[in-house]
């Protein structure tokens, strides 16, 4: 099976090369025979990559330690659940997994569009093939997952204990689905540039793909944060690690793109900008891969055998050069048909939104690469850690939060002061009332607390803006002749205009995330105590009592030491926490498994930091307020994105109506 898997990769590469060349030659030479021939290659390449992936999975399931990769990331004792996930635990498998997702996406695109969009499809497929060829070259010639060990060992090294968590099965695939998903809009953008079909056709074709990739990347980041929270045992969820930053940057650029394409769709403006953003999003995904696989920047996420940096750097350079040349040569065709009427308009607020999103993106990028710059310029290695990102990104983030409220409410084209007064009166009052109420409740001694205070005020303002939109819309519908009750009209309103109101739901999710981050960052308290059995200590309103210590032989390679910790409030037991330390055979450091009681107000987060033979133990307990708001915000975003992406039969009709009306609506402004 290993030979078949290895051979399938070679066949995939040869077929992809043929497919790429055939598509280009077919469209250049107007050769229908070549086009029909090329049209068979996406499925063949996908089948080959599936066979290869199945072969590697079989290696893991059957403990085939003749494969170096299986030996390095699995062992006989590993749960089947984790054996399946070990596939992407190392560099070689993760590259194959990337290729598997990419070829799957390509097949979906192929079946979606093969009988339409003939002008763009051959180029889009060729571009996707170029990217697939790059990955297949790496897999075949540089980092082959089917590399053998001449004398296979009895057992494997096993998966890193930190990776033996259920999130290992969820987080990396979600993140990859996001990363790889941006290849589709990139391919269509490149196709539009190459073929000079530069109307908003490529945007319409790929808007949902962009949204899908954005959704997965967003969820991937949140799942990663959740994993870090429960696994790494430091009470936090985001450490501004270079690889975390690498996943965060494309998300920011893609968010900017998703907003600015609305201006192109409605006003036929910002074509160059949108094109640049979609290309930059893809460049950022490759940059992220470069960071993970180069070992150039120190990160806890970097793969052990991070040796592919130069390949990715070269690939990145080639992409940037080609994109830049294409955009410059197509500039005359990317000219906007309409112009901006006023800075007091929704279009302008989207521009400022783009500026702030890219501002955070640039600050994150700058912080990530600054250690390299410092070493190159001064010869001194430095660290750029969380304090830098928090100080730089928080103020920009607050301005962005304000804009989440302002943008959707402000009128298109040109808002008047009367319009602003009408739309913002209530939200501003809500913000001011929140400010007054919180002023007497929350402490305002440090910089972090002041920023948190501002965040809460802005959250209230933004929520009021969004809820006002829902309220007004539902009320207006209730006034119709066939209008129903408020709840049903709220549903109808959202259903009839999924993009707009789905977007508002996503914004509500963002507000929850902002509030969760602010609350948990500023008001978290913790205490570390060494206790004998039965001893207690106080933390805010809680009494923490160390009650029991037990050792369990979980498997032949894993021993669990579990502490039982009683949490009391007003002498009543609230919860019994069971944090543990897991000892893996052959590993120097034990792994902490925290225990968390999560409520809407706060999380009680307990870590068993250490224990002694006399059964005394060191416990570290955090009270982290509002962390659950973060995860709830994530689910709200998921729900909102689902609404946005739900197939809409009315959408086509609306678009046609809008295109007909567009000239009439905007014509006066151009006269």
């Amino acid at each position: 099976m290993n030979d078949i898997g290895e051979f399938a990769l070679l066949v995939a590469l040869a077929t992809a090369l043929y497919g790429c060349v055939s598509y280009i030659m077919a469209v250049r030479g107007n050769r229908i025979d070549l086009y029909l021939s090329a049209d068979k290659t996406p499925v063949i390449v996908w089948v080959c990559v599936v066979i290869s992936s199945a072969a590697l999975w079989k290696g893991f399931i059957t403990n085939d330690f003749s494969l170096q990769y299986v030996w390095a990331y699995s062992n006989k004792e590993l749960d089947t659940f984790y054996k399946l996930a070990s596939f992407w635990g190392g560099q070689k498998g993760s590259l194959l997994f990337w290729t598997l997702i990419l070829t799957t996406y390509m097949c979906v695109v192929y079946f979606q569009n093969r009988k339409k969009n003939i002008r763009l499809m051959p180029y889009a497929m060729a571009v996707m093939f170029v990217i697939i060829i790059f990955f297949l070259c790496l897999l075949n010639f540089s980092t082959n997952p089917f590399e053998r060990i001449p004398l296979p060992p009895e057992d494997g090294r096993g998966l890193n204990p930190l990776l033996q968590n259920y999130w290992m099965v969820i987080h990396p695939p979600t993140l990859y689905l996001g990363y790889v998903g941006f290849t589709v809009p990139f391919a269509f953008a490149m196709a539009a540039l190459i073929s000079k079909n530069l109307d908003d056709g490529w945007i319409r074709l790929t808007r949902k793909w962009t949204l899908l990739a954005w959704f997965f990347l967003c969820m991937g980041n949140l799942f990663g944060a959740s994993w870090a929270y429960v696994e790494l045992g430091w009470g936090g969820y985001w450490a501004w690690d270079p690889v975390e930053n690498a996943a965060f940057m494309p998300l920011l650029v893609a968010t900017a793109f998703l907003h600015s394409i609305q201006i192109q769709e409605k006003k036929d403006m910002m074509k160059v900008w949108n094109m640049s953003l979609v290309l930059l999003t893809f460049v950022m995904t490759i940059f992220g891969t470069f960071i993970t696989r180069s070992g150039l920047i120190q990160s806890v996420h970097t793969f052990d055998e991070a040796t592919l940096g130069y390949y990715f750097l070269a690939f990145l350079g080639v992409i940037i050069v080609i994109c830049t040349v294409l955009i410059i040569t197509r500039l005359p065709l990317l000219k906007s048909k309409n112009e901006l009427d006023s800075l007091l308009s929704r279009e302008a607020s989207f521009l400022i939104n783009n500026l702030l999103l890219l501002g955070i993106g640039f600050a994150t990028f700058w912080g990530t690469i600054f250690p390299i710059i410092s070493e190159a310029v001064r010869g001194v290695k430095i660290t750029v850690g969380p304090p830098f990102y928090n100080q730089v990104n928080v103020p920009i983030g607050l301005a962005l939060l304000a804009l989440i409220g302002i943008g959707p409410v402000i009128a298109w084209r040109r808002a008047t002061w009367a319009n602003l007064r009408k739309n913002f009166q209530v939200p501003v009052i809500v913000g001011l009332v929140t400010a007054a109420v919180l002023f007497s409740i929350v402490p305002l001694t440090g910089r972090s607390e002041i920023f948190t205070y501002m965040t809460f005020i802005l959250c209230a303002f933004v929520m009021a803006c969004i809820l006002r939109e829902f309220l007004n819309g539902a009320r207006a519908r209730m006034g119709l002749e066939d209008g129903g009750n408020f709840v049903s009209e709220l549903g109808t309103l959202t259903w009839r205009n999924k993009r707009r109101y789905g977007g508002y739901v996503v914004h509500i999710g963002m507000v929850l995330i902002f509030a969760g981050i602010a609350g948990s960052q500023s008001y978290s308290v913790h205490e570390q105590k060494h206790l004998k059995m039965g001893e207690s200590f106080k933390l805010r309103d809680y009494t923490i009592t160390y009650e029991k210590l037990t050792a369990v032989e979980a498997t032949s390679v894993k021993t669990r030491v579990i502490a039982e910790v009683g949490v009391f409030k007003d002498s009543k037991r609230v919860w019994t926490g069971r944090p543990e330390k897991e000892f893996y055979k052959g590993q120097n450091q034990p792994v902490s498994e925290v225990d968390v009681l999560s409520t809407i107000v706060e999380d009680i987060y307990i870590i068993l930091a250490d224990f002694n033979e006399d059964e005394s133990a060191t416990l570290k307990v955090y009270l982290n307020p509002m962390v659950s708001w973060l995860w709830t915000g994530g689910w709200v975003i998921a729900f909102g994105t689902m609404i946005c992406m739900w197939p809409d039969r009315l959408e086509q009709r609306r678009r046609l109506d809008r295109m007909k009306k567009q000239e009439a609506i905007f014509a006066p402004a151009q006269e």
């Binding site: 009128a411 570290k620 609306r654 151009q670």
Partner: protein, 160 residues
């Protein structure tokens, strides 16, 4: 146009002022010793000391605690750590010399972006300036609700 440029300038200045206010209070952040220094464990965990849970970080905390008890100030301890381990021990770049560019560049880029944006908007406006200002009519409260609801519905369709 002047008003609009002023609005953009105010917004960007607000961001800058908040940022600088944050930087001005950086001493408060540095006062938190554990937040100012990275953990130097053998595993190269890459965590700020405050967030690290490894055995090395516990030893380091105990060591710092003793140093503070002996009368050393936070700045002195940080300085000692920098002399011992190099600048890499600091969790963020110092705000002097070349490292200042790390702090300034994001805000400079933001200001430059804002300036560029205002110039582009200005050029757009000059190119496509309408003779007549398309102003939004004031809402007439006397419009019957059935018409306002229809308007709302049509606006929904336009804005979707």
């Amino acid at each position: 146009m002047k008003n609009q440029n002023r609005l953009l300038t105010i917004l960007l200045a607000l961001v800058l002022v908040i940022g600088l206010a944050g930087n001005a209070q950086a001493a408060a952040v540095l006062a938190d010793l554990e937040n100012a220094l990275m953990c130097k464990c053998d595993d190269k965990c890459g965590k700020v000391l405050l967030n690290c849970t490894c055995s090395t970080s516990d030893k380091t905390r105990a060591e710092f605690s003793k140093m503070l008890d002996s009368g050393l100030t936070v700045d002195q301890i940080i300085q000692m750590q920098v002399e011992k381990h190099g600048e890499t021990i600091l969790s963020s770049p110092s705000k002097s010399g070349f490292n200042l560019t790390a702090w300034a560049m994001p805000f400079v880029a933001l200001l430059a972006g804002g300036f560029g944006l205002s110039k582009i908007v200005e050029a757009w406006k000059k190119k496509g300036a309408p003779e007549e200002q398309a102003t939004e009519p004031e809402e007439d409260e006397s419009i019957p609700s059935k018409y306002s609801s229809r308007i709302q519905e049509e606006l929904d369709n336009i804005e979707s």
